[in-house]
Amino acid sequence: MADFQRLAPEAIKHFRQGPGFWVKLKLDPWLLILVIAIMAFGLVVLYSGSGASEAAVNKQLARYAVAFLGMVVITQINLRRVQRWMPLLYIGGVLLLLAVFLFGVEAKGAQRWLAIPGLPRFQPSEIMKLVVPLTLAWYLASRPRPPHLVHVLAALVLLAVPVVMIAKQPDLGTALLIGSSGVFVIFFAGLLWRYVIAAMVLGAAALPLLWIGMRDYQKQRVLTFLDPESDPLGSGWNIIQSKIAIGSGGINGKGWLQGTQSHLDFLPETHTDFIFAVLAEEFGLIGVCLLLGLYFLVLVRGLIICAYAAHPFDRMLAASLTLTFFVYVVVNIGMVSGLLPVVGVPLPLVSYGGTSAVTLMASLGLLMSIHARRPQRI
């Protein structure tokens, strides 16, 4: 394993110590510290973004506690042992999506929620954020690599079914995240470059088709993104106000709880999708760089875990989860700062809301689980 040592030289020291305290706990201290730091910073911003609501912060804290618990539980599972259950999970997930389609609860013009008596209301699409990469990783791990075209196509079908169902709810943000998680699995399965390039060309060619398939409000969002000033008081409002909030924050920011854009209601969704604008307004470029730095460290740590992973299933899954986290960050910040059209993607571990926190923590739990079960060498 000389290669391995050459690629991750700092690991040598670690190997000498043997399975340490954290390995026994199946937790990764680096990810833990980073996640807690992001959450702590996030709660500070959330307090401001929710209009100085202690209740909102407390509620979010409780959700984080649940999410932590879920994460710890997941780390204790050896994924490779439960691989064979993946098809069942997948089928169950798709059935739940079907149930949403048939009996789902509608909110804000979209049918995303499922209310099963005795359980809290939940979005099956959130579960699919984990199930889809798990299933694809299982499928491709048990096939020859680099994957044959036929297996790639099969994987794409497995991916397309939930993605299309979710996009039709409609929930473009989640569909985008799940879609990219699947694409990452296929890419890290070793998809030949010629296929990668062909897919890119095809994807570009298919953009007009995507446009035709979009709903009016989705088209409107794209148009607004291209020219927000065309409807400054209507659909362009959010993006204009969010840019004003970010820009007026400057380098040092206006100070905690001092953001006029957020506190005087010019900025929409200050505690959910647009919370980044609150952060940028109140903490300025310094706060922005701090958060981006923390995210970057999470991503680097995720890539290191990928590098340590020995089993193809682990590798594909870890790389997909890490890069999906990256997509979260980029899409949200890109949207809030006016680089991307408005798509409902929360800022990971900062935005108010339980489901995304639980799935994000679960995916970090999967990463930790993979890392705890990396090959140990003394």
Partner: protein
């Protein structure tokens, strides 16, 4: 594990790691892109966004000054301000912005009554230039119930506001409008003329009368404040504030009690009463009937009501006191007599034999006296007491146009001498030149005869006749005729005291023999108290002496219109009754002119009203202020 498989695995791992490095590169590039974007927004464009953020939250608001109050001479409030709630929309804040206006109006109509008229006017206001996020008025004078209904439904009426404002209110409305004028909402034409800054928060402007003339003094100076608002336009805090300067309060000579008396005397009639304090020139009463309520004009009169006022045959909107041109008839006889004797053309003991008519030439047209058979031997005294037309035919024939016109002008005819009533008209004091220009004809002796008895081309407004009565009563002494007595407690003797232009005013008339005044005064006293005085009925049973002169004006040339019925036509051809006079006869405190349209003779229609006005002035309660000193309460 076979070596070949190991080898593939090795290859796969190394390929995977290559892709991880690529992923890291992608992450670095994209994060660099994000940071670049944020640096662009937060550093490069920072200034711009700070400005936009401040523009968002800070608004400069103009604060309307409180309009100055108007008091009568005794400190009674004539024009005040009261709180009124209007319903307004902020178009930018409606669902769907300006495009959502119709939907919002429909929604609103379910809560409060809005008629087509309101909507029409609202749309007109909407198209006027205005600041973004400023409310546009839809309805005025909401009652408590309507305000409550709107408040309860506020959640489903975004962009709908109940705006409190101070609006003009005339507590003694009926019959005061022709003296005070009124304020109304600023229209496009006025908007173009007014100082845009000073009127930026003002919705009303003086439209007529005193309210219009003293607009500059009454309005005050606008204040301003910078406020912090939230996205829904709600004011959260005032950042800085410059208080508005309220308008100045104005005290008029007008005596509310006397004015009400005049209004009451004119009830059911068409006509005017103007009373002046001869010691000051101040207008004590100025009534024109029929009248109308001014309060309805402040918040916008409905089209139907306005149409009714405009189309009424009795012309309630017409200010007869200031703009009614009436033949003064016999009321000018004392002035004609003065003209004759003071110019030296007529001897002081001049007399004629009156057969009941006058002829310019033997066998020519008969100019008839009002009394068939005539008055016999008539001198100046008798000519005034009995109002002998024949006498005035004779002396005006001798004098011709010029002396009469000159002397009448010294009493204010043919010119506007009232300082602060912008609507006042000069009527017509005919001269030879005037006839040449306006009638393209020479002045004929017959014209002089008509002029000598106050008919023909000569016309005068009730205000001019009251002014003439004042100058007569004062023996030629003038005062500026005006409404204003004081401003903010400071006496105003002339409008030039407050920087306005005084109207041209004739010099005091000094007769060559001042005893001639006494001669005329004595005759005018006998009009009221003499055995044959034309107004003896009105002068009887009084504790004080008064002086006066009646007049009866023939009505000519009313246009016949098919829609009038015969009874109305007949009524409209009756003579106008006129009266001028003062009381008491010595040291007068009131000079007056009364005109009753189609009321018949001056003795029966006008003089009794004047007597009641005299009584009201002379005999009313102790709270009298006849010397016109400033009452600063």
């Amino acid at each position: 594990m076979p070596w070949s498989k190991m080898d593939t695995q090795r290859k796969e791992v190394s390929q995977f790691k290559t892709r991880l490095w690529l992923a890291l590169l992608l992450i670095l590039l994209v994060f660099a892109g994000l940071i670049t974007r944020l640096v662009y927004l937060q550093v490069v464009q920072h200034e711009r966004y700070v400005t936009e953020s401040n523009d968002n939250r800070q608004q400069l608001q103009a604060i309307a000054p409180t309009r100055g109050l108007i008091y009568d001479t005794n400190g009674n409030l004539l024009a005040g301000n009261r709180a009124s709630h209007s319903l307004a929309l902020v178009p930018e804040m409606l669902v769907g912005g300006r495009r959502g206006i119709d939907a919002a109006l429909a929604e609103l109509a379910q809560v409060v009554a809005i008629d087509a008229d309101d909507i029409k006017r609202f749309k007109r206001r909407l198209n006027q230039p205005r600041r973004p996020f400023s409310p546009v008025a839809l309805r005025f004078q909401l009652d408590a119930e309507e305000i409550a209904k709107i408040t309860v439904n506020q959640h489903r009426l975004p962009g709908v506001r109940v705006v409190p404002e101070l609006v003009r209110y005339y507590p003694m409305d009926d019959g005061f409008v022709h003296a005070l004028g009124y304020v109304g909402r600023i229209n496009d034409r006025e908007l173009a003329k007014l100082d845009a800054t000073n009127y930026s928060a003002t919705h009303h402007v003086g439209k007529l009368g005193v309210e219009r003339y003293y607009e500059a003094e009454l309005h005050g100076t606008v204040g301003r404040q910078t406020v912090e608002t939230n996205a829904r336009g709600r004011v959260l805090q005032v950042l800085d504030r410059l208080e508005p300067m309220p308008g100045q309060n104005i005290t008029l000579f007008l005596d509310a009690q006397l004015q009400q008396k005049a209004v009451q005397l004119l009830a059911g009639k068409r006509g005017a009463i103007v009373a002046i304090d001869p010691n000051t020139g101040g207008i004590l009463a100025m009534a024109s009937a029929p009248s109308y309520g001014a309060n309805q004009f402040v918040t916008g009169i409905s089209s139907a009501n306005y149409k009714a006022l405009r189309e009424s045959a009795d012309l309630p909107l017409f200010n007869r006191a200031l703009r009614g041109r009436y033949p003064p008839a016999s009321t000018i006889k004392p002035v004609i007599a003065i003209a004759g004797i003071d110019s030296g053309i007529i001897a002081r003991n001049f007399s004629i034999w009156d057969p009941g008519y006058y002829q310019l030439t033997e066998g020519g047209r008969l100019y008839r006296d009002w009394k068939k058979g005539g008055h016999g031997r008539v001198n100046i005294h008798k000519s005034i007491v009995e109002s002998v037309d024949t006498f005035y035919y004779a002396i005006s024939h001798i004098m011709g146009n010029e002396p009469m016109a000159n002397y009448l002008a010294r009493f204010g005819l043919g010119q506007v001498t009232i300082a602060d009533q912008p609507e006042a008209t000069q009527a017509v004091l005919p001269t030879k030149q005037w006839k040449r220009i306006n009638r393209n004809a020479s002045w004929f002796p017959g014209d002089s005869l008509n002029m000598g008895i106050g008919q023909g081309f000569l016309s005068a407004t009730p205000t001019q006749l009251a002014t003439m009565a004042m100058v007569l009563a004062n023996k030629g002494q003038w005062h500026q005729v005006r409404m204003i007595k004081a401003i903010d407690g400071k006496a105003v003797n002339k409008v030039s005291d407050i920087g306005r232009k005084d109207p041209a005013q004739p010099a005091n008339l000094v007769l060559k023999r001042s005893s001639d005044w006494n001669k005329v005064h004595a005759a005018m006293v006998d009009v009221m108290h003499g055995k044959k005085g034309t107004a003896r009925g009105s002068g009887a049973n009084s504790s004080y002496k008064m002086a006066g002169k009646t007049g009866t004006a023939q009505v000519l040339g009313i246009k016949q219109d098919g829609t009038y019925d015969a009874a109305i036509i007949a009524e409209r051809f009756r003579d106008h009754g006129l009266y001028i006079g003062w009381a008491p006869a010595k040291n007068p405190v009131i000079a007056i002119a009364v005109i009753i349209e189609n009321g018949g003779g001056g003795s029966s229609a006008a003089a009794p009203l004047a007597r009641k006005m005299f009584d009201a002035r002379m005999l009313a309660g102790p709270n009298k202020d006849s010397k016109g000193g400033v009452n600063d309460g």
